[in-house]
Amino acid sequence: MATMTLIQALTDGMRTALLHDESVLIMGEDVGRKGGVFLATQGLQEEFGEDRVIDTPLTEDGLVGSAIGMATNGLKPIVEIQFQDFIYPAFDQIVSEAAKLRYRSGNQYSAPLVIRTPYGGGIRGGLYHSQSAEAYFCHTPGLKVVIPSTPYDAKGLLLAAIADPDPVIFLEPKALYRAVKGEVPEGYYTVDLSTLRTVRDGKDVTVFCYGAMVPIASKAAELAAAQGIDVEIIDLRTLLPLDEEGVLEAARKTGRVVVLHEAPRFCGYGGEISALIAEHAIEYMEAPVKRVTGFDTPFPNTLEHHYIPNEHRVLDAIEYVYHY
């Protein structure tokens, strides 16, 4: 098995999909000759030609709108949005058209497209290149929202997303593109959507997280272990649909929960996890669910390192719920 970075695993996943299914194609700004802004599609146009890896004009709504048209007519487009911050022009196409097509057509049509886009901070990208907007999409029935955190999951989840008959927002933690490495199987495999992954077993406190926050949670768990607090880390992987049973099982197991994400707190994804536990597992709880998140401000450029949760903030929350 080859060892790859997360972005290499994504490239490998797309290459595998192009080989596996002739209806798969890639489209986006600079995805062809340049290989994408982060080089995720590097070499794919050379290998598969301009008809399957298509450079498009700089128009996100046109890009996603075209992809919806292709998808409803039998193709399986993978759209790359260079930064998640630029997805908003296409927001209407995604939430009003792609997400609703199956329902609106009485189950006659669907839009099996994947929108890949890097999200989050950590690369000094500043205000317009660092946002974590997963909650907007999670609020939209008809979409699936996936965020990998390891190379293995990145390829397996991407292939599952491409195979899925409905639109999938595939958010890539750009801070981890080249920061994590791992073994990735050759050829085609998928990782089930809507199943969470236990990163680390523990009995005292459960930390729910995803994407770029998974390594932060792991560092915090190490610090907590030094104090005798045994932390379990759950990588949610698919935010919509969520593995609700898995979440509740993990919450009931320890009775103490921290939810960790980089996006702002208010109406953020952590609130959903917290509410789910409050509705279905409250009697097992030993402490309130604590959220560790970004702040309710626009993403700050120079204060990026304060904005993004670090292991110490997570540790504080772990200690809080543990000693509650």
Partner: protein, 420 residues
Amino acid sequence: MALEFRLPDIGEGLTEGEIIKWCVKIGDKVAEHQTVLEVMTDKAAVELPSPKAGIIKEILAKEGDVVPVGTVIFILDDGQTAVTSAGHSGHGHAKPAAKTETKTETKTETKTETKTATAVSAHDDKVRAVPSARRSARDLNVTLADVEGSGRNGVIRRSDVEAVAKSGRNVSSNNNASQISIPAGTRETRTPFVGLRRKIAEQMTRSKFTATHFTVVEEIDVTELVRLRQRAKAIGEKEGTKLTFTAFIMKACASALIKYPELNSMLDEKNNEIVTYHYSNLGIATDTPNGLVVPVIRDAQAKSVLTLSKELDAMADKARNGQLKAEDFQGGTFTISNAGQIGSIHATPIINFPQVAILGVHRLMKKPGVVETPEGDKIEVRQYMNFSISVDHRLADGVSAVRLLVHIKQLLEDPGLLAL
């Protein structure tokens, strides 16, 4: 123009107090430091003085009400202050007793103000417990209101509930049928079960349900002690104290407790530790017109019989005059209960929890006894007292109790040894 007086934490981490007596009524003028009410704490009745001079505007708790620390219990019009608070604000879970709130019979124009005050704090009228503790309390039939929380700001955790369930305390019965109601007749009197009596009842029940009592009894020939006391009385009189047997018994007991400290200890349940004391602070169960109280004589092991006797006199005076303070009851490591002056030859005393043991002292009696002489055994009129010791078997075993009693026996049968 009103000062809210909140029930303060009078003693060591007091969480609630029972209002025994109001010394004032609405409309009364009070001076600064004038006693306004008496409150029963875990250990003693305490008088609470007014923090300022003024007029009693509202009285918000009835006699007999048990009120959490931090609850507003009366409102004083001091003629200057806007609404402020006096007293301790408690630990965040202060609540006005529900009864108090509804039964306030105030007919002055300040009624609205009071209502607002109680309404604001009404949401605090809840037990603070984590959800899992609530589930646990339901499953284990424990009344949450009676559980002391060890979590942040006194929040009840699941482990607190489980500990209570395990100890058998505060486990509520499934229905109210177990609460016995006795029909009133014409030839009985009915006295409110309040104050010291209720406090004693709570303490004794807690002790009996928690400590695993067993009792050992020993008969002690105190003929020599009677003679010694007779001679020593004159010295005592010169020193201004009436030497009683209790002082001698305390001296012997303190000596024994230093030698066998496993009976001079307590169980710190929170920290799972046995605390052993290397000094003996003797609680002396004392009968007062209101009921039994247990003031403490400190460091008995370091004091002479005469000193102990003097301190006993002083304590008894205070008890009779109702002047004992909360600190007089604190810090006891062992208790002596002497009802011998009245009668009894045997008892199974209930431990003054969380202490480990209690010594019961019984009446002095003349009996024929066998005395060994060079001419052989002879029967003589001797004087005897029985001693019973109840011990918490969780922390100490029978041999400890017997050893302690034997040590006391040696000292009291040959009281000259007390001087050693």
